[in-house]
Each structure stands twice: as C-alpha cells, then as structure tokens.
C-alpha cells in the first residue's frame, strides 16, 4: 500500500512552499483536508513532485489550495491533466433545493393539500359523470358490452374474496356475541345478545366490514392495475386503437363492485350471524333452533333492506375511487404506490361518511 497523504511546509526566504507527499487519493487522505483548512498563512507555491498517486479528490484539494494565488509545480503530465479537468469542473452547485421558513412551508402545504382535496373531489365527480355516460352508451349499444371482462372481475372481486370475508365475518360475529353477552349478563339479559347480533350485522357491520375489506383488496388492486397500465402506456395504446379505457377498464370494475357488494355484504351478515349463533350455542346454551327463531322475531325486514340498499352505493364508491386514482397515475412507479394508498384511504373515508349519512336518513324515515 502506498503512503498516506501528507505535506511538508517549507518557509524559504521570500516564498512559502507546501510539498505534498504520499498518495493524494481518497483512501489515503485521512485528516488532510482539515489540516489544509487550518493553514495560515497560505503557501504561495505547491510542489507535487513528491506525490506518488493522485485521484480527482487529491486534485481537488490541490486546486482548492491553489486558488489563493499559489503556483503549482512538479506535476507530471497525468497530474496536470487531472488538475485541468478538476478546475474545469469547478462550478458552484446547490446540493439541496432551497428550503423556506417552516411557517411558510406549513402554510404552503396546507394550501396545497386543500387545493388537492378540492381537485380530487371535482375530478371524482367528473369521473362519476363519465362513468354514467359510458354506462348509458353501453345500455343503448349492448353489443359493446364486455362480458368476459365483467365475468373476470366478478371472479376476482367476488369469488376470490369469499374465504377471507367469510373468516373475518365469522370472527366478528363471535366477538359481538361475546362482548354483548358479557355486558348484558349484568342485567341477566344475556338472551338479548341475539338481538344485538342479528340487528347490528344486517344493518351495519356486515356491509361496512365487507366494504373495508373490498376497498383494501379490490380498490387497491384496481388502482395498481390501471396505474401500471398507465405507466406502460397501455391506456394510451387503447385510445389510439379506438378502445375506450372507460368501457374496457373502468366500467367492468364498477359493475363488478356494484353487483358484488350487496352479495358479499349479505353473505358476510349471514356468516357473522352463524358465528354469533355458534357462540350462543356453545357458551350461552342457546340451541341453534331457538337462535334462529329469536332472530326471526327480533330482526325487522327493514334491517336487511338498510344493508342491501347501502351495499351497492359503497361498491360504486370503492370501484370508482380505485379506477379514478389509477387513471391519475403519471410519471413514475412511485406514483402507482401513492395512488393505490390514496384509493384505499379515499374509498374507506367516503364509505364511512356515507354510512353516517345513511344512518341519519334511515332513522328519519322511521326504519329504526
């Protein structure tokens, strides 16, 4: 290994000479830069004849030192060339973008987020309109209906989700029954756990939990699929061939979401009730026959309608958020990830807001 970089100062009668020794390379440089910075007064001659090897970093240090009117001597042709190259590259450069005061930055971010939210809302409404128009065109020209694409989405969104939604609902049914029983036991009214299970699953939790699961499973998949198709210019290719991306990509997914959400929601409610029923049977000694009888007595038909009316609306919201965010992707792969996250967050947020609106609406029309 060559020797580490060092220097010798030589104070002559009228000139101060700095002789570099060793290897002026990144690996051997050690604390040389700091020691050079501490030099005072600066040398007016730099001698490189003792340097074994030099790389651009060594050359840069020499160049930096030589800027203060110092003469460089003893460089061999290669070193001279390197010095020349480095000094040619000496241009001021910003490392990071300018930062602004924190207060301004916060204000800026709030403003940008508000604008973004507004734009997204307007975009989503526009997208909804476009979907409706496309749907209307399809109804008038049924031969353009993409049957295969829709069946495929049914399979992905519905059939493949049955296992996970079933398991989730079953466990939720058990949790409701167990928690309800614990609380109601204090009043000796354990049997009312059945009311709780029947009504809350059909009215609220069945559909809501399904919506959250579908948003996480399918809404995100819609955004990611369409997003990566946008990146690969597949969507643009479709347009140039005359295939409408709204017809081929968005509508099948929206239809699948709309049709399958009620089915999945109903399925989830039933499985949750089965879970609750099994808990009642094993833990509260209520036999299944009694459980079913009791359910039929205490759960009004309107509860089922409440769930079934909400479900397709949630389905539309989830599918549209996914497709909308997917279509917004442009630029790079990072955007796909951001948009996918945005699609899920947006879908769940809108679903919960709408659920609250529905709750107020149904209670005011007397479906309590």
């Amino acid at each position: 290994m060559s020797e580490r970089a060092d220097f010798i100062l030589d104070d002559g009668q009228d000139r101060r000479t700095l002789r570099f020794t060793g290897a002026l390379t990144l690996a051997r440089i050690g604390d040389l830069p700091a020691r050079l910075d501490a030099l005072d007064p600066l040398p007016d001659r730099i001698d490189l004849s003792g340097v074994e090897r030099m790389d651009t970093i060594g050359a840069w240090l020499v160049h930096r030192l030589a800027q203060h009117e110092a003469e460089v001597t003893g460089a061999d042709p290669d070193q001279a060339h390197l010095l020349e190259q480095v000094s040619a590259a000496d241009k001021p450069l910003k490392i990071r973008p300018d930062t602004r005061p924190p207060f301004l930055r916060v204000m800026d971010e709030i403003g940008a987020a508000t604008l973004q939210a507004g734009r997204t809302l307007i975009g989503l409404i526009g997208f909804f309109g476009l979907t409706v128009i496309t749907g209307w065109r399809l109804i008038r020209e049924p031969r353009r209906f993409r049957f295969n694409a829709i069946v495929r989405q049914f399979e992905v969104v519905g059939v493949e989700a049955l296992a996970i939604i079933g398991l989730m609902s079953f466990l939720i049914g058990i949790v409701i029954a167990q928690q309800g029983a614990v609380q109601l036991r204090q009043f000796g009214a354990e049997v009312f756990a059945i009311n709780l299970i029947g009504r809350i699953t059909l009215r609220e939790l069945g559909v809501l939990m399904t919506a959250i699961m579908v948003a996480g499973r399918s809404g995100s998949a819609f955004a990611a699929q369409i997003g990566s198709m946008r990146l690969a210019e597949e969507v643009d290719a479709m347009r140039t061939i005359g295939v409408s991306p709204m017809e081929a990509l968005v509508l099948p997914r929206v239809i699948a979401g709309t049709v399958l959400m009620p089915l999945l929601g109903f399925y989830a409610s039933i499985v949750a009730m089965i879970g609750g029923g099994i808990f009642c049977w094993l833990s509260l000694d209520i036999p299944p026959v009694t459980f079913v009888q009791r359910i039929r007595e205490v759960v009004p038909m309107t509860d089922l309608w409440v769930g079934l009316i909400k479900a397709p609306v949630f389905g539309v919201i989830i599918a549209m958020s996914g497709c909308f965010q997917g279509m917004q992707v442009k630029g790079n792969a990072e955007e796909v990830g951001l948009r996918t996250t945005a699609a899920v967050v947006q879908a769940i947020f809108l679903v919960i807001v709408l659920d609250a609106v529905f709750a107020v609406f149904f209670s005011s029309i007397g479906w309590i």
Partner: protein, 276 residues
C-alpha cells in the same frame, strides 16, 4: 491461459435460472486500463454477466476474480473493500429517488469515508456532477425531475464518486439521442484517460464500439465466443459476428469511424452526420 495484468478474470462461469442456462463455461479476461465492450444478442446474458462480476448474482459454477482476488467466499468486510474500488452504472441510472442528484453522488462517499466533512463532501459532489457533464441546476433536483439522459449522467457521477479503478457501464447510451450518446462516449473516453479507469461496457451501440472500445467481447452460445479488436473479430468466420459488424448498421458505423480517422481526427468525435 491467464493474461497478465487482468483486472477481471473469469473461468468456467455457469449461471442458470431454473432450467434455463444463461452461461456455461464462460471465460473472460479484462485487462487493466482498457475499455472492453461486451456485445451479444438480446437474452445472451450480458447484464447477468455484469451482475455476476459485481456479486449480485450467485453463479452456479466457475470462478470470478476481480483485482486478483476471488469474488466468492469473501467476508462482508473484504467484499466492502472491493466495492469501494469499483463503480457501477445500471441501465436506468438506478438513482435513489428520495435523494437529490448531488446527495446521490455523496452516498458512496458517506458510506465508505464517513469522516469527510460536509463542506468537502459538497465540493466533491459539485465537481463530480460537473465532470459528468450535468448542468449546475441538476444538483438540487430529484431523479424524477430529470430526463433519461441526465439520469444516466447522474448515475455515472455516482459510480465515479469514489474514483474507482474499475467502472461497469450497462448500456450507457441506450435511449440517448445520437448527440447525447456521442457526448457520453467522449466522456467515458476522457475519464478513462484522466483517471486510468478500466471500463467494462455492455452496449448495443455500434458507434460506441467503434469509437471508444479497445477490445470487444462477443457473447453467444452461453459463453464468450471471441474477444479482440474489431478488425480481429471481423477476421473470424462466425455468422453472428459477421452479421453484427457487417450488417447495414455495422457498416455505417465503420464508415463513419473511417471518415473521422481519415480526417486525422479522433475516432470519438460525435457522429452526428450518421442520420444524414
């Protein structure tokens, strides 16, 4: 038959993905201080070869020596010592997307030489960026704000951050316009001269081969079928080599080179009249 002064020495390399064998019995020597062009049809495993040499791909069989020491079976520390002596430019630049261009250049410096002070790091990043031919405005920009060509230059600046002895370039001119590609060739050549680099250059670009490569290695039939200067390769009677260099595009590139050397100019001048 080992060549003297080989900076990379590959013997009997075998790589496979599942049933698909990419390399089988591949031998190659890269000499110190040369620019070795690596060519081959699509899917002949040029990038896989590069990945094997830098240790990203575990070969099934064979030995690879870089700087005279085997790649396989090294401790993490020894591997780090080797990594600070080479630079790699990936096809798309592979810049870290959360860092600015200048910060990207500083990453290897911070990683390997953490005791350099921030002011010097900033200065180093500045001249590296300038040396790789990027404008000063590019420094504080994020990779997503750059064009493909600028990203490659920034990737090169990062690959050169440690003043490596050995530089790997994976299709550096692919996707660049002819002027940008010619500039990139000039840059590679001048860096080689200035820094005494050895360059392992994967390319499809015939102009690059003619302009700056000292030797060319041809990958086909799962191994290196020939290594040599272009005239040496042309003397061989292999159909793929003949078609590659004597095809319509090969001839145009060769003519352009001849024209330039006929004028007594460097062969690495921009070949902008190619399109005419």
């Amino acid at each position: 038959m080992s060549e003297k002064g080989a900076i990379i020495r590959i013997r009997g390399l075998k790589n496979s993905f599942g049933d698909q064998i990419v390399h089988d019995g591949l031998d190659l020597d890269v000499r110190r201080g040369e620019i070795l062009g690596v060519v081959g049809g699509s899917g002949t495993g040029k990038s896989v070869l590069m990945r094997s040499i830098v240790g990203l791909q575990q070969p099934v069989a064979g030995t690879i020596e870089v700087f005279g020491e085997p790649i396989a079976g090294r401790s993490e520390e020894e591997a780090q010592d080797m990594r600070r002596r080479w630079g790699v430019l990936f096809q798309g630049g592979a810049l870290f997307s959360t860092l600015t261009v200048a910060e990207n250049v500083q990453v290897p410096l911070r990683e390997f030489y953490g005791d350099l002070d921030d002011r010097l790091l900033d200065e180093i990043a500045a001249y590296k960026v300038a040396m790789s031919g990027l404008p000063a405005e590019a420094g504080p920009k994020y990779p997503s704000e750059l064009s493909g060509g600028m990203r490659k230059r920034a990737g090169l600046a990062r690959a050169l951050a440690l003043d490596p002895e050995l530089l790997f370039l994976d299709e550096p001119t692919a996707g660049l316009d002819p002027i940008g590609a010619a500039n990139f060739d000039e840059l590679t050549e001048s860096l080689k001269k200035t820094l005494g680099l050895t360059v392992f250059l994967i390319t499809h670009d015939l102009d690059t081969l003619y302009a700056i490569c000292d030797r060319v290695a041809v990958l086909a039939d799962k191994r290196v079928i020939a290594v040599g200067t272009i005239p040496e390769l042309l003397a061989l009677d292999h159909p793929w080599i003949q078609e590659y260099f004597n095809g319509p595009r090969g001839r145009v590139a060769a003519d352009a080179t001849k024209r330039h050397s006929g004028n007594g100019r460097d062969a690495d001048r921009p070949m902008t009249e190619l399109g005419a």
